[in-house]
Symmetry: C2
Subunit: 220 residues, 2 copies
């Protein structure tokens, strides 16, 4: 009888060709290890969900020993919280300051949606993540999504003080919902044809929808 492979952790000598480690791990560097873990965790949490992701998978992706997750983040939940906090920050940065530039906002949103499946864009985690079983994480996600909705709606002419513009807020959120759905179909299920659609074609189609949704229209 042959000996079973004793462990599922991969050694750092067979990282395959994954360029996940933006820098070559030369020596011992706690900060680098933490970043690698967060990056790997973001991808896994986004594509597999919180509970379906195992810490051993994350550690393997990051080319790091499993126990370091608990060393640096106390627990799996702590690692998840670390991913979420940074996500919230980055979304604020990407929000435009000039509400008039609706086309620019749309282009940026479309770019995020189209490119999300291949990146570890924090937006992807925000969009994909479902109920995690962690109340605080869910709250952060809801607040961030609502914040982003208001920003997008403002670019489309929504005014919090003008109840007449309320429909714009709803339409902005439908645009976000569409983004969420597209990202899910492309990353989570690889459903055709959207999963392998031509980038330009998909971009055009999305831009059409978002413009139709968000372009100021006085009529009902």
């Amino acid at each position: 009888m042959s000996e079973p492979t004793p462990s599922s952790t991969v050694q750092h000598d067979d990282l395959e060709d994954s360029p996940d480690d933006e820098l070559v791990r030369s020596g011992r560097d706690a900060a680098l290890t933490r970043r690698a873990l967060v990056r790997a965790a973001r991808r896994r949490f986004a594509t597999e969900g919180y509970r379906a992701t195992t810490v051993r998978e994350i550690a393997a992706d990051a080319g790091v020993n499993v126990a370091l997750i608990n060393r640096y983040f106390t627990s799996k939940e702590g690692l998840f919280a670390a991913c979420m906090i940074r996500t919230s920050d980055e979304l604020d940065i990407r929000t435009p300051d000039r509400p008039s530039d609706l086309d620019g906002v749309i282009d940026r949103l479309v770019a995020h949606v189209v490119l999300a499946p291949d990146s570890d864009d924090p937006l992807q985690l925000l969009l994909l993540l479902r109920s995690s079983g962690d109340e605080n994480a869910d709250l952060i996600r809801r607040n961030t999504l609502e914040h982003f909705t208001r920003k997008l709606a403002a670019a489309a002419g929504w005014n919090a003080d003008d109840p007449g513009t309320a429909p714009v807020l709803l339409r902005a959120q439908l645009a976000i919902a569409t983004s969420l759905g597209v990202v899910m179909l492309r990353t989570s299920a690889a459903v055709q044809p959207v999963a392998s659609a031509d980038i330009d074609e998909l971009t055009d189609a999305l831009r059409d929808i978002f413009r139709a949704l968000l372009t100021p229209r006085p009529t009902k």
Copy 2:
């Protein structure tokens, strides 16, 4: 040392007040048990995801012994397939035979999306379910989604033999993606305003989008 509670299965004597069992379980009825399991599984799979759902939870929800899942459905995956198959059937039924009735199709889709959060509508499972970590389960979902996409696209004038209508297929899938996103925002995260939007208002907005997406438009 106190004895640990030996099992997480609940007896059928403390079903709480859940009306999940549409009929009182008087005697032994295999068909009833199977239906109860499928119903409970649909809700759990839809709200928690495949891998995050445990067979013991499902059995407890259905007020049934865990082993019966394996007896009637061979495995957790078999139970999932049973949920999906019925979903596929219902979607087929709801698909019109007359492709010209686009408005009717749209109305039905919108109704499903709007009502999904409060029901155990099979469509909800289809829309909410994410990457399950189980290859066969993912394949079932992908095939069902693609099948439904083609049905919807056909109602909007898509013809598999006419490459010129390919964009319609993509747009139909964007409509599905939007549905998926809306259902997720409403059920999974309760994001405002879409979560508490007026039903009629939401219905109108969705109908507008889907018509704009799917109404035959000869121009590029």
